[in-house]
């Protein structure tokens, strides 16, 4: 258990989610272990005893998340008055998995327990975020990361809206400046140069596995995905090689499923939930490589629509009737997976003849003809463009 906890503490730091000394991570099988000693351990042990969990994470996020989470949390408390408060991001990850992000006023063991009984996270202004896992500390890490991502998207979405309506408040401006300062130091690693990914076409399985693994790791390195979600695939020999569901893009070794496309095997049952979308994208575009990430400003701009009178307002993520674009990249509605409103049905047709496609509030899919160099370049360029476009929209 200790090894697992250390692993996810390390990932939090590498992902820029927390400073090295911030996470307080506890794991319990028969006995409880912490990654470090802290005055809060006793209180958090009481939280663990009040829940049926096997891990608990308490951590103040690193910048820019810290200021953003703080701002949104205080705003949620102000709006809630004496009632229960929650941040309610509208991105796909939150809608699908987190639902909302409860906020409490102070570090109170009973209040933490009460909120974690019904949700995966609870935010305490000035303190940090508490999350849990029932199967693995990895869950706590994912929930923490997803909460940071969701708050980031919500803050910048709201900032754009308030800027247009000329109702920004001073605190918002301060947080915005702080966030942009932190962003400039992380969003373009290696001076903005692209990674030197393997050159295709790949003509044996070993090369395919290596190329997918390398592309996944680069996507994480360039922070083009939140926590580790996203997926990567390559078509070779009528088999789609694709990252497994809930696999970490930075450690895909052993987590790539070969999916025969002749219908002879179900062994790819654990393939990414976007398997069908990948297959159809490749069929319609004639390409061989697909990369899917959750680049933040692409997600933020995908949710920027000024049609306030649209009859589908509020259902944009599944029923947007408009043909929307950011530059040459289409934006489509669509839920995760293959359901009636699944992106497996909405995205592939829109990507015909395109280098990429955006799913509303969710993320970006890009393609490469023979390898991931082109797909990654597309992913990076589109996100960089979206960031520049966003800054222009808010007068920077």
């Amino acid at each position: 258990m200790r090894d697992l906890i250390e692993k996810y503490v390390s990932k939090m730091v590498r992902a820029g989610l927390a400073s090295a000394d911030a996470p307080l991570f506890g794991g319990v099988d028969a006995d409880l272990v912490w990654n470090r000693s802290d005055a809060r351990c006793a209180d958090l042990e009481a939280v663990i005893q009040g829940l049926s969990v096997n891990s608990l994470l308490f951590c103040r996020p690193a910048e820019p998340y810290a200021s953003i989470v703080e701002f949104l949390a205080r705003q949620a408390l102000d709006e809630a008055g004496d009632g229960p408060a929650a941040i309610q991001p509208q991105d796909c990850e939150t809608r699908t998995f987190l639902h909302d992000l409860p906020v409490i006023r102070e570090f109170s063991v009973p209040d933490i327990i009460q909120n974690l009984k019904r949700r995966k996270t609870v935010i305490i202004p000035g303190e940090g975020i508490v999350t849990w896992g029932t199967v693995s500390p990895e869950q706590a890490y994912i929930f923490f990361s997803s909460a940071c991502f969701a708050c980031f998207v919500k803050f910048f979405t709201q900032y754009l809206k308030d800027y247009r309506e000329a109702c920004l408040v001073p605190e918002q401006l301060v947080v915005f400046e702080k966030a942009m300062g932190a962003l400039n130091s992380v969003v373009q690693p290696r001076g903005g140069a692209l990674p030197d990914l393997m050159t295709g076409p790949f003509e044996n399985e070993e090369a395919v596995y290596a190329a997918i693994t390398q592309a996944g790791r680069a996507t994480v390195d360039y922070q083009l995905v939140d926590s580790f979600f996203g997926n990567v695939s390559y078509l070779y020999n009528n088999t789609l090689y694709i990252s497994q569901t809930t696999s970490s893009l930075e450690e895909l070794e052993g987590c790539i499923d070969p999916c025969p496309l002749d219908g002879s095997s179900c062994a790819a049952l654990t393939a990414s939930s976007e398997f069908t979308a990948h297959r159809e994208i490749l069929r319609r575009t004639g390409k061989r490589a697909v990369l899917h990430g959750h680049p933040k400003f692409t997600v933020i701009l995908s949710m920027d629509c000024d049609r306030l009178d649209c009859p589908m307002r509020g259902q944009c993520m599944v029923r947007c009737p408009e043909k929307r674009f950011i530059g040459d990249i289409p934006i489509v509605p669509g839920e995760v997976g293959t359901g009636p409103w699944g992106l497996a049905n909405t995205l592939p047709p829109a990507m015909e003849g395109r280098r990429g496609g955006i799913v509303y509030g969710h993320g970006l899919f890009t393609v490469g003809q023979e390898d991931f160099r082109e797909a990654f370049a597309n992913l990076f360029e589109i996100e960089t463009s979206c960031q520049a476009m966003y800054l222009k929209l808010v007068g920077c």
Partner: protein
Amino acid sequence: MYGWTGAILHVDLRDGTHWVEHPDAELYRTWIGGKALAACYLAPSATLPWNDPAMPIIWMTGPLTATPSPSSGHVTVMTRSPLTGTVGDATLGGEWGTQLKRAGYDGLIVRGRAHHPCGIVIQDGEIEIQDARGLVGLRTSDLAAHLKPLGPFVAVGPAATRGVRFASLVMDGPVTVGRNGLGLALSAHNLQFVSVRGTGIVSVADPAGLEKASEDIQRLVAATPALLGEYGIGRYGSGAFYDLMVSRRMLPTANFRKTYFAEWRKVNACTGIQRFKPESVGCAGCSLLCQKAIGDGRFLPGFEPLAQFTALLENDDLDICLEACEICAEMGMDPLSAAGTLATYAESQGRRLEGEEILDLLYQISVGHGVGVDLARGSLSYSEQHEVPQFSMTVKGQEIPPYDPRGACGMALSYATSTRGACHLRAFPISHEILRKPVATDRFSFEGKARIIKIAEDACAAADSLTICKFLMLGCSLEECARSFTAVTGLETTAQDLLRVGERASYLERILNARNGFTAKDDTLPARFFEESGSSGNQIEVPPLDREVFRQSLANYYRVRGLDADGQPTLQGAAALGLDLHS
């Protein structure tokens, strides 16, 4: 009261009388329904022999049954198992539970032995005990012709009448449901069938809230590859797991002497789907449609019977597998235990069974002919009788399902701790060890598994109390289910509250088993898994389980569960859950 009808029907078969109990609201709040409520009602009688007329057979629906909450139409049936002597229970799908609820009852409790074979017919508030002597010995497809006009039914087949210890129930025709020998338990009461039809409506406190919760659940289901993905059970049925077990080198083969079946392509779900092009059908209120009807009244077997009648017996003929499943369905036998018993027999004979021999032996078991008389008592009894107990791949006397424990340590632990004998559904660890839901865990490690299995057992018990389909839990969690529960009942409830209900039910089952003499010595696995390797390959090593690490993990489980070192419930553990250890 919202969600529940507030009525439980009691039938006494000795004199054919019935009465309706109206439990107080506190009982519902504490036990909610399904498995937990059934265990509560079983407790006072749990030490009676399984065939004692006073031993109740309990059916319990859940608060979500017959509401629009997705995949919630299941019902628990519980009594003491004729096969294992433990708590014996099963969760049944179909439409029966929904109809019982619509008839106005949350549950049905049957006691007493009828003077002759009979059936219970429930039509809303009308209860009738019918003479069923003319139905005894009928194949279940013939039985269905008689019973279908009465509505959905649960019944027993000829195997139960003949005393087969692993006789199953059948539902609405030749479809086997339930392990643990529950069919024999019904037969002991001279109960041939229970049919039910109802027209009532279950009141929901917050229909809009339920609609929102249901949308959230459906969104998660659609996002889960194992459910509605390209290769998911929605398309292939649970047979979709077959190739995954092959690729993970954990498909029990040749009575667990191997964990890889080289002929898998001849019999896998893809082969069946391509050959029969089945229609997808499902339980009431479920969008998964995991059953695959092949047009002649038969279904493609789900993963467990498919694996048992192919790899476990080294049979590479899909037609033999289908016929074997059909015999089990027509005669009313649990296919997992039937195949497991045949695998023990085959190893004791030192040879592989030919296809026709498999079918002939199944028939002999079901009608009590030849060697079938001995085999009808199950693998453990047969192996002990013939002095080859090492060939019985059972836990607490129940045959192990086709997930080799050497390939998944959590599965190994959960087989051992299961309160009804070897069961893959008590903690459903393939969700994280194989299917990566909610996240992947290291399947070759016991690290952290004690608490994981304990929590998962509680979560599964909560799901069986609600009563929702276990497959649903691959997509959503108790968090979303709690919102459904709150919307239906109007009682503010959290995921952790539901876990507490599951924990209480799990602990009560440990208490009931302890009263019947079960101890730590029963929480173990056959020696083979500690002494022999599986079939390594494809860069996967399948070593034997480390006995010491297993013992330590079991000891950790006892601590986490609040049991003593012998696996026995304690006063303190019981009190913490509001249970009385001795009454």
